[in-house]
Symmetry: C2
Subunit: 415 residues, 2 copies
């Protein structure tokens, strides 16, 4: 049997980095920067006031209070004149500090409150003067031109987007999202909304995997599930790949890969470039991966990576988390930190046993600084999975864990 690490490396190698494309910043949310971004401006670009008030030269101020003539008005956005010695300049938050001024007196410390129109030529009484430089945001105190402000691999969430806009970046080079086809197999499957006949179950892996892919930043195309029939499966694959709105970068199947007599995925793909293997993990032992060349209805043919997940819903979910999510995020250029779920060491609230020789991934919930397995180890317990916020990772050589033992916990609560 392959180890979890072996199979993870195999899946990671299967997926090359996606192409780099230029996108408007507003269209790049959730994608990763393809290159380091170097600031072409300095932030702030000029010394500016952090308060509404009056700009003065500290050396001009003797005993307090002091009354000074207001020599200019500096709203945000203007290029001020140098401060006339012995005067004050009214200044707004964010406006440039005039040359010659080195202190800002907040309006609350002056007689200037309530002045709406022009005050140039009137006087203002200052009740205190801050020490030189206070309430001034210095040019370059945030970013200096030439700085690498964000490294390649940064995922563009709100704050990095704000920073990019602030340095004047209107569009960015990002890795495009992976385009993934999802296809579930199984003669027992029925579409939600239809009646269930004996022996049938509702298809759930497709919708679940499509959502998981979207959370990973990929673009998922969900094909209608197919029965355990090799020609029907291959036909569905070819049709879906040819008809997808985006060229498919990866095919993910679920089901049809275990040791039975009707393993449609295995039978269809084993001699087309996909290797099937057993991975020393629970759930998720039967796995497959490779590249296939599909004859599509439009006669185009391309080599496409394929990952075949087991059909039990929990096995499918855990396999996705362990193998596909990090590999897809790496392919999309995400930084190493953003490829993986946040992991923490937490004590077990209750004892736990695991199987020998296999890494076990137990669904769990965190509370009060501890973690507790939720539901049993069985791979059909979808309700327990849906109420879990974590996975407990138990190494292959560990079988008994007492309450209080520290375990590695994957935080699934983010998207």
């Amino acid at each position: 049997m392959a180890s979890v690490a072996d199979h993870a490396a195999r899946i990671a190698q299967l997926l090359p980095r996606t192409a780099v494309e230029r996108r408007a910043l507003s269209e790049a949310r959730g994608l990763a920067l393809a290159h380091d971004v170097v600031a072409r401006v300095t932030l702030p670009p000029f010394d500016n006031s952090s308060m509404d008030g009056f700009a003065v030269a500290a050396a001009d101020i003797g005993a307090l209070p002091v009354e000074l003539v207001v020599s200019q008005d500096i709203p945000a956005g203007v290029d001020p004149q140098p401060l006339q010695p012995g005067t004050a300049a009214r200044i707004m938050t964010g406006a440039p500090v005039p040359p010659g001024a080195d202190s800002i007196v907040p309006v609350e410390q002056t007689s200037g409150r309530g002045t709406d129109g022009s005050v140039v030529g009137t006087t203002v009484r200052l009740h205190s003067v801050s020490s030189a430089g206070q309430f001034i945001r210095r040019r370059g105190s945030d970013v200096t031109e030439g700085d690498v402000v964000l490294p390649a691999g940064t995922v563009l969430t709100a704050a990095p987007i704000g920073l990019l806009a602030a340095i004047g970046v209107a569009d960015v080079q990002v890795h495009r999202p992976l385009s993934v086809l999802v296809l579930s197999t199984g003669s027992e499957l029925v579409a939600p909304g239809e009646p269930l006949r004996p022996g049938q179950i509702y298809e759930s892996n497709g919708p679940m995997l499509a959502a998981a892919l979207a959370e990973t930043g990929a673009v998922a195309t969900l094909a209608h599930f197919v029965a355990d029939d090799v020609p029907a499966f291959l036909d569905a694959l070819g049709t879906a790949v040819a008809g997808a709105a985006n060229p498919i970068d990866l095919i993910v199947t679920s089901g049809g890969v275990s040791a039975g007599a009707f393993e449609v995925v295995k039978q269809a793909l084993a001699d087309r470039g996909v290797s099937f293997t057993r991975v020393a993990m629970q759930p998720g032992m039967p796995q497959g991966s490779g590249r296939i060349t599909l004859d599509t209805p439009d006669d185009s043919s391309r080599e496409i990576p394929v990952v075949t997940l087991p059909g039990n819903p929990v096995s499918s979910f855990v396999s996705f988390e362990v193998f596909l999510r990090p590999a897809i995020r790496a392919a999309q250029g995400f930084s190493a930190a953003a490829q993986h779920r946040p992991k923490a060491a937490l004590p077990l609230a209750e004892p736990l046993t695991s199987v020998p020789g296999k890494a076990q991934f137990r669904r769990a919930t965190r509370a009060a600084g501890t973690v507790r397995a939720h539901g049993g180890a069985s791979s059909h317990l979808l309700a327990a999975l849906a109420h879990s916020d974590s996975l407990i990772e138990i190494p292959a050589d560990v079988t008994d864990l007492p309450a209080g033992a520290e375990v590695t916990v994957w935080d699934l609560s983010g998207t």
Copy 2:
């Protein structure tokens, strides 16, 4: 000054729950269930095999190995015949256990490996027999018909979507996303990509807030920023609200709310139903909220909630996190747990000081079980914000914190 809690309550009250709408499961990702979902089926719907192998009656098995006739073949999806006494039924993972069988012998424990065609009428040698019931997933062991499988407020991520599909739910009633108009103000603002003249800065709050809103599950419409000009501001608001693709549920402005002489948002909205207040927090002291009635170009007029954020980028971001994000998620029907950022108590890696009388929210990074403030307290430090994964919340009455002191840390790393 209002407390953070007071202002948070005010913003929460401003936003009513959004309407409930029915959506296909595939269109409901990231939204919250409007009602408890009750299972209309039992999962599994029938006892089924967790292994590929042979179904037998344990009482039929004497000394091992034993050779039994294969009396039927049970692929997934069929309705099997009762097990003929003294025989074995070949069974696939997920297929119904036939009446009369109480044990599954995995194919690996039999002579049956490699049999592809029909095996009915041949014999199979069993090398071991599992204890009665092993490898059988019992009907109802996951979900029982009538169970509330997911409560109202559940946010539909991959696993809940999988569970809903599994119980046959094709569409769900969810709260629709809030539709939010974002409008930045400031005469110093320039669009990214344009050259900067003296006194000007690039507009960053709009793109940042639009991204933050999208991460919150809302639909953001970003209006082009406007200068500090009351008629232009009101005109831009009216035009944007009238022209928005989705009816606007909330207007969020940034800038123009502090104590200066050119506070466009304050001047335009103070006598139109918006209250401006100072909140005892840093950053983010100047805040405003209320409802306005806009005269739009198409002569429709509606009362629309407004939240006015301060213009400093970090103030705007922190205000959004503290007030708007939880209120928007509540309005979208998210469960209490999903409204708020995950919070934890972590020790400070370094000492920290705060201002008296104001709650302080410091941008920070977590590492090795501790948290460290990143950049200073100043509200223009956007680069430090973009590299942070946390906020440290320091209560208003705390001014000095030694290294090792436990602080409340908001985890910003999820979306």
